[in-house]
Symmetry: C2
Subunit: 413 residues, 2 copies
């Protein structure tokens, strides 16, 4: 029943090396690393030289190798390797969230066309088995939404800054030293890394491929002392939260932004480099999953579980795509947000549907009100350059009633 797996590995960084060790130790998984493609041939490494090659073809053309494990940084090179492998009849395991989020429609078609399988549990939420759980456990009919903390690095920083009084810069440096942060910190703290994960999770939640650039994401870089003070006064924590939520039988929405998380929300307790996911469904009510979300080991664990699944010829069935009956992505929803700012001009263009509170102090200013996601999205590039911090004040998301929903439905691929 179990297939013998002969792996061609791309990339031998921290995850790749840990994976090699644990595969050697494991009796449970019949998988062996045959060859490892690396960029630089002459770095000193702990394995004999015959394991390594700088020539991708040596792996992709090897008929003995039946599984490609792709663990490199560069998303374009990764897409090239993964799509070539799928075309040549090799199954693939990948942890590359950016590559997968951007190319999921093509990768889905390639799998169908060539009968090969691509698994990517390691791409989303570290060690939490969220993709497989969504694939196999929740029927899309009953799934109200998924929300969560999908980025360990920014959550680590928020924990340090908010709970332990570190400065933002010191916390970022620590996260980088611990190996939690991506090479470019903007990916984490700007909310791009969690955005890629949210797009992947949305495909497995509602069977629709959403391009990352179609989604509003806002990060934590502009978090200031006054925001921390405000949150503490209200008994909240500030978390960078991803949300995808069904609004009714015909549409859903998604976004990534900081949120004032209250103490009765399971995400309130997700601290440091942990990730947390809340899945809401009709019958099962709220499910909560928590696990390590950053670092080589949790990623390695998810890669390993995908390799293990490969030995049983497991593949994603993308059931929600088959079940999807025209569920559409809309940004015509109202969000209640907290916006702190320095000068009145910084609020320009932010189209408040309703202003609920306004505070103008000597050192700080904020406004709480309802805005549409569509207007936030329209100004997203601009908002990032201003001296303002935006956070969801209430997790509630409602359809904007001013405009007909279908007129503003977003075209999706």
């Amino acid at each position: 029943m179990k297939k013998e797996i002969r792996i061609g590995l791309f990339g031998f960084g921290c995850v790749g090396q840990g994976l090699y060790d644990v595969l050697n130790e494991s009796r449970g998984i019949r998988a062996e690393i045959r060859k490892i493609a690396v960029k630089h041939a002459d770095k000193p490494r702990k394995l004999p030289a015959h394991f390594f090659t700088t020539d991708a073809d040596e792996i992709l053309d090897d008929p003995e190798i039946n599984l490609i494990v792709e663990l490199i940084n560069d998303p374009d090179a990764a897409f090239d390797i993964v799509s070539r492998a799928l075309r040549s009849g090799k199954d693939v395991v990948s942890a590359n969230k950016k590559m997968i989020a951007e190319h999921l429609p093509e990768l889905y078609e390639l799998q169908k066309q060539y009968g090969t399988s691509l698994l990517y549990e390691a791409s989303s939420c570290g060690s939490i088995p969220i993709i497989r759980t969504l694939e196999e456990y929740y029927d899309n009919e009953l799934l109200f939404g998924v929300s969560g903390i999908f980025n360990g690095s920014s959550n680590y920083i928020l924990t340090k800054v908010y709970q332990e009084g570190s400065t933002y810069e010191a916390a970022l440096r620590q996260a980088q030293e611990l190996g939690f942060a991506e090479t470019d910190p903007t990916l984490d703290v700007g909310g791009f890394d969690p955005l890629y994960k949210l797009c992947i999770i949305t495909a497995h939640s509602y069977g629709t491929f959403i391009k990352p650039e179609e989604v509003f994401n806002f990060g934590i870089q502009s978090l200031a002392a006054q925001d921390i003070r405000y949150a503490k006064e209200k008994g909240c924590k500030i978390k960078l939260v991803c949300t995808v939520r069904k609004l009714n039988g015909s549409c859903f929405t998604l976004f990534v932004m900081p949120q004032l998380v209250r103490s009765d929300d399971p995400l309130f307790l997700v601290d440091r480099e942990n990730n947390g996911v809340v899945v809401e469904a009709a019958f099962s009510d709220k499910q909560f999953f928590q696990g390590k979300g950053a670092g080589g080991h949790p990623t390695g664990s998810a890669v390993l579980s995908d390799i293990s699944a490969s030995t049983y010829e497991y593949r994603y069935e993308y059931k929600k795509i088959a079940q999807n009956e025209g569920l559409e992505y809309t940004r015509d929803v109202n969000l209640e947000v907290y916006v702190s700012y320095e000068r009145e001009e910084d609020l320009e263009g932010l189209e408040f549907v309703e202003v609920l509170e306004r505070y103008q102090g000597r050192q700080s200013h904020y406004v709480i009100g309802t805005v549409t996601l569509a207007s936030l999205y329209r100004h997203k590039e601009d908002l990032r350059t201003r001296n303002i911090f935006i956070a969801l004040n209430q997790p509630k998301v409602t359809l904007a009633e001013t405009q007909p929903a279908e007129a503003n439905a977003v075209a999706v691929s």
Copy 2:
């Protein structure tokens, strides 16, 4: 790809009725309830009479019906129905933890022999997809242990008594009124219901079938005011916790008992009717799952997900059984326990390896010390009749070093 499911349902209580409603509403699942077997034909019901029968054979002999959903209370009758169905080529979904825990070896063999499938996610931890996660995500090589709150009813009572100051009796009555408690409360508060779940989870964790009667279980019935006071002083909560834990490469142990849970344990926050499960593994570190653990809807949700899986011909592969290389169940482990008692005689026979603390006050007495699980197990019937409360004081479990492990390995089926 999707199989059309025609269901024969046994039992039409709260879960069965909810299931009927949601199946009718769902477009995602191609499953239809054809016939429902009930005990009493003439109860007034919300469905037309032609749906019902009191004759099991009418369902089991119907060649059109290809899935049996078993939701009755009586474990013996349930085993008869389920084993007959599996033999006659019908797949089965069941939520009957006692029946499954007691008959898993036979049910495993029946599935192998007749090529039929039995799914039972609903039997364990309500809506948390723990069996499927263990089946598909964790390789036994890397799994250190699983612990959790597996009984919503007793957790509801503990929350009411401990946090809200209810009396034990009032809290039990409330749990029963809310439909959280089993018909016989001893099953819940005596730690039998969680014991059955732990046995099922152990099979999917370590590939070994353990009979419930081979396991030490102790409940919360003897919880007294002094225990609550003690826990509060130490900043702990008292939870009824199930534990299965690998001790080294050759043995593991399991037990059910109250535990003094500290605030850094994810189980600390699992309150009311929720269940929580912590899975510890080498690479993924600590994973935590939380969801509703009692009531008709969470169980219905798990039943529904199994029916949905059936449409894709999903079956448990029992991978851990194939992978198990002689891992043995042992009770020769040391546990650090807190024992409160009224009279010295009540401690008789409790063989303390080491006494760490002893308190003799005017109104209360307790001792904290190390005992072997083997000695607790030997006296388990007797301990239940005494006026003592036992709780694990530290989650640490170590091999008892006084005796050679193999001499005391427990025979398992």
